[in-house]
C-alpha cells in the first residue's frame, strides 16, 4: 500500500508543479489559467470527440514507443522510428493503391505486412551496419531518418504523387481501417480507428515475445550483459540484426493509423515526429509495453491539447508543460525515493 502511494506521489507532485508553472505563464500573458486549463481539459478528455482525438494521436505513439523499447531490450538505441515509419508507411500505401482489386481480407493483412517490411528494412540497415561494422546505431538511425524523408519526398513528388498535392493516390477502399465512429458511433467525428486494436495486439505480442520466449530471453540477455550473452553462446550479430529489424517493423506499422485509418493516402510529413516522441514514450514507460500504452495516451492528450487552446494561447504552452512534466517526473522519482528511505529509517 505504502509502495503504491510512493510510486504515485512523485508523478502527482510533478503534475501539480508543472500545472502551477503553466498557470503562472498563462497569467503572465494576461490570460486566465482556470479558463485555459478548463478548455484544455474539456477539449481533450471532457467529450467523446476529444477522447477520440487523443486516442488517435496516441495510436502511432504506442507503435513507435514499442519500437524503441524493443530495440532497447536488446541494448540498442533506435532513434530511427521516424524514418522506419516513413518507409513502412510508403510501402503500405503503395501496396494499398497498387493492388486495388484484392478483397479486404487479403489486402489489409498485406498492407500491414508491407508496413512491417518497409520499416524492418530501414531498421535492418542500421542493425546490419552495427553487427557487421560495429558502427553506432544511434548515428546511423538519425542519418536514415533524413534519408527516409528525402526518399519519400522523391517518391511522392517525382513518381507517385498526385499533381499539385503532396500525397499519393488514394489506397483501395478495401484496405481502409474503419473508424470507431463508423462502427459504433462513439467518438463522433474523430479519426480514431481500428489500428488502435492493432496497437494493443502488438503490445501483447511484444510482451509475449520478450518475456515468454527463448528469443526474448536472449534479447534481454544481450541488452543487459552482452558479454554474458556471448559466453552463453547466443548469436549476437544475428540478435542485433533481428532486434533492429523487428523494432523497425513495429515502427513501420505505426503508419497505418494515419494512412489507412484516416487519410487513405500517403502524405508527406504525416508522421508528425511520432518516431521521436516514441523515444520519450518508451523511456518514460521504462520500456514496459503496457506502461507504453498509458504513456502514449498521456502524450496523446498533450499532442492534441495544444490545438484546443490555440485560439487563446500559443499552443506551445502545451509543449512547455509536456517538457516540464517529464523533467519533474524523472527528478521527483528520485526525491521521493530519498524521502522514502529517510522516512523508513526514522520509523
Amino acid at each position: 500500500m505504502n509502495k503504491v502511494i510512493y510510486s504515485i506521489l512523485g508523478p502527482l507532485a510533478a503534475i501539480i508543479i508543472a500545472l502551477f508553472i503553466g498557470a503562472i505563464i498563462i497569467s503572465l500573458i494576461g490570460k486566465d489559467p482556470v479558463e485555459v486549463y478548463g478548455v484544455l481539459f474539456y477539449g481533450t478528455l471532457g467529450n467523446s470527440y476529444g477522447i477520440g482525438q487523443v486516442l488517435f494521436k496516441a495510436t502511432p505513439l504506442i507503435f513507435t514507443g514499442l519500437s524503441v523499447a524493443f530495440a532497447f531490450k536488446a541494448g540498442l538505441f533506435n532513434i530511427g522510428a521516424e524514418g522506419q515509419m516513413i518507409i513502412g508507411g510508403f510501402a503500405a500505401a503503395w501496396t494499398g493503391f497498387t493492388f486495388v482489386t484484392l478483397p479486404w481480407i487479403i489486402l489489409i493483412p498485406l498492407t500491414i505486412i508491407a508496413a512491417f517490411v518497409g520499416g524492418a528494412l530501414w531498421g535492418f540497415i542500421a542493425g546490419y551496419l552495427k553487427a557487421k561494422y560495429g558502427s553506432h546505431e544511434v548515428i546511423n538511425t538519425i542519418m536514415l531518418n533524413f534519408i527516409a524523408a528525402a526518399l519519400a519526398s522523391y517518391l511522392v513528388n517525382e513518381i507517385y504523387g498526385i499533381p499539385a498535392t503532396i500525397h499519393t493516390p488514394e489506397v483501395s477502399g478495401s484496405s481502409f481501417l474503419l473508424r470507431f465512429d463508423a462502427i459504433t458511433g462513439l467518438f463522433p467525428g474523430s479519426p480514431f480507428n481500428t489500428s488502435f486494436l492493432a496497437a494493443i495486439l502488438c503490445t501483447i505480442i511484444f510482451y509475449f515475445i520478450i518475456n515468454r520466449t527463448p528469443f526474448g530471453y536472449q534479447i534481454r540477455t544481450l541488452g543487459l550483459n552482452k558479454n554474458a550473452a556471448e559466453y552463453a553462446r547466443m548469436k549476437i550479430k544475428k540478435l542485433v540484426v533481428l532486434s533492429m529489424l523487428i523494432s523497425g517493423g513495429i515502427a513501420g506499422i505505426g503508419s497505418i493509423n494515419f494512412i489507412f485509418g484516416y487519410k487513405h493516402y500517403y502524405e508527406l510529413g504525416f508522421s508528425e515526429g511520432a518516431g521521436y516522441i516514441g523515444i520519450a514514450v518508451a523511456l518514460i514507460a521504462r520500456n514496459n509495453p503496457f506502461a507504453i500504452i498509458i504513456t502514449a495516451f498521456f502524450f496523446g492528450i498533450l499532442e492534441y491539447g495544444g490545438l484546443t487552446i490555440n485560439t487563446m494561447v500559443p499552443k506551445e504552452l502545451v509543449t512547455i508543460l509536456q517538457a516540464l512534466l517529464i523533467i519533474l517526473v524523472i527528478t521527483f522519482v528520485r526525491i521521493i525515493d530519498v524521502l522514502k528511505i529517510k522516512f523508513l529509517k526514522s520509523a
Partner: protein
C-alpha cells in the same frame, strides 16, 4: 462560452482562420492572409480567431474546432494543403461557410456550395518577375531558391524560369531547394547558404519561394550586395535596397473580399475564384521604394508582357 453567446447576440460576424504550417509572422503568405483579417476587423467590424496547427492530422481538427463553434460562421483554410480537409468539412457542416486560399481545384470533383476556392495564378506573377530579373541581370545569371521541393513550388520555379528565358534566352538560371520536408520553409540558415552559393557562382538576382527560408536569401543579398526578389507579400523592408521587387499575391484582398461578401449575406461558394494579373490578384511591386532598382526600359517591357499574358498570348509555364 458565455462570451460567445454575447457575440452572437450582438450580431457581430465572427471568422475563424487556420494558418498554413509557417504560421503567423512569416512576413509572406500567412501574413498576407492575416492582413486581410485585420482589415476586415477594422473596416467591417468583424471578430476573428485563428489557429496555427502542426502538420498532419491537425488541420482537420482545427477546422472542425471552428466548425463546431456556434459563434463562428465563416472559416478559412490558408494553403493548398487544406484542399482535402476543407472539402470534407464543408460537406460535413453545410450550415457554415468555408474558403480556402490556394485550393487545388480538381476538375473531376465538384466544390461544395458552401466552399469558396480562392486560386491564384502564381505562374503569371512569377513569369513577370522572371522577365524583370532577366532584363535586369548584369551577369547573365539569376537564381531561384525554393522551400520544400513540391509540385506547387516547382510551378513557381518553372514559370519564373520561363519568364527569364522569354526576355533573355542566354541567361543562366540556378535552382536550389532548401529541403524535402515542411521544415524547408523555415530554414533561413540553409536559404542563406544556398543563395550565397548561387551568388558566388555568378547570379546577381535570386527569386525565392520558400517562406521564412527566404529571409536567409535576403541576408545573402545584403551581405553580397546583390539583389533578391520577394514573394507573396511586398518584402522590400526585409532588406531595403536589395529587394528588386516582390511577386505579390493579394491574399489579403481575397480574404477581405470574402469576409465582406459573407457579411453582406452574399457569400457565393461552390466555385473557384481565380485571381490573376488581370484583376491584380497577382502582381509585382513597383513603387517609389524600388523604382530606382528597375530601369525605365525594364518597367516598360514588363508592362507589355503583362498585357500579353492577360491576353493569353504567352505561355507562362515552362514545360
Amino acid at each position: 462560452s458565455k462570451k460567445s453567446v454575447q457575440t452572437t447576440e450582438s450580431g457581430k460576424l465572427k471568422v475563424g482562420l487556420v494558418f498554413d504550417v509557417g504560421g503567423r509572422g512569416d512576413k509572406s503568405f500567412n501574413d498576407a492572409a492575416y492582413r486581410g483579417l485585420e482589415k476586415a476587423k477594422n473596416e467591417l467590424g468583424v471578430d476573428f480567431e485563428y489557429i496555427e496547427p502542426g502538420p498532419g492530422a491537425d488541420r482537420e481538427a482545427a477546422l472542425r474546432q471552428f466548425a463546431t463553434r456556434p459563434d463562428i460562421k465563416l472559416i478559412f483554410g490558408i494553403g493548398f494543403i487544406f484542399t482535402d480537409e476543407i472539402t470534407k468539412m464543408a460537406q460535413e457542416f453545410p450550415n457554415k461557410d468555408f474558403a480556402c486560399v490556394d485550393y487545388t481545384y480538381d476538375q473531376t470533383k465538384t466544390i461544395p456550395p458552401n466552399l469558396l476556392a480562392l486560386e491564384f495564378k502564381e505562374d503569371e506573377g512569377c513569369f513577370l518577375v522572371g522577365a524583370i530579373a532577366g532584363l535586369t541581370t548584369k551577369t547573365q545569371a539569376v537564381g531561384f531558391v525554393g522551400g520544400m521541393e513540391s509540385p506547387l513550388i516547382k510551378k513557381f520555379e518553372k514559370s519564373y524560369e520561363a519568364g527569364v528565358k522569354y526576355v533573355n534566352p542566354e541567361c543562366k538560371v540556378f535552382i536550389s531547394y532548401a529541403g524535402v520536408t515542411g521544415d524547408a520553409f523555415k530554414n533561413p540558415g540553409k536559404g542563406k547558404e544556398l543563395a550565397l552559393g548561387q551568388y558566388s557562382q555568378g547570379a546577381d538576382i535570386i527569386f525565392h519561394a520558400s517562406g521564412v527560408t527566404g529571409l536567409g536569401v535576403f541576408e545573402a543579398a545584403r551581405e553580397t550586395k546583390k539583389l533578391a526578389i520577394g514573394v507573396d507579400s511586398d518584402q522590400y523592408n526585409e532588406a531595403p535596397g536589395f529587394i528588386l521587387t516582390s511577386m505579390i499575391k493579394s491574399v489579403d484582398v481575397a480574404v477581405f473580399d470574402c469576409i465582406r461578401q459573407e457579411k453582406d449575406g452574399k457569400f457565393n461558394g461552390g466555385k473557384a475564384e481565380t485571381f490573376g494579373l488581370n484583376s491584380k490578384g497577382v502582381d509585382y511591386i513597383y513603387n517609389d521604394k524600388n523604382n530606382n532598382l528597375i530601369s525605365e526600359g525594364t518597367r516598360k517591357r514588363a508592362e507589355e508582357i503583362r498585357e500579353l499574358i492577360i491576353a493569353g498570348k504567352i505561355a507562362t509555364f515552362l514545360k
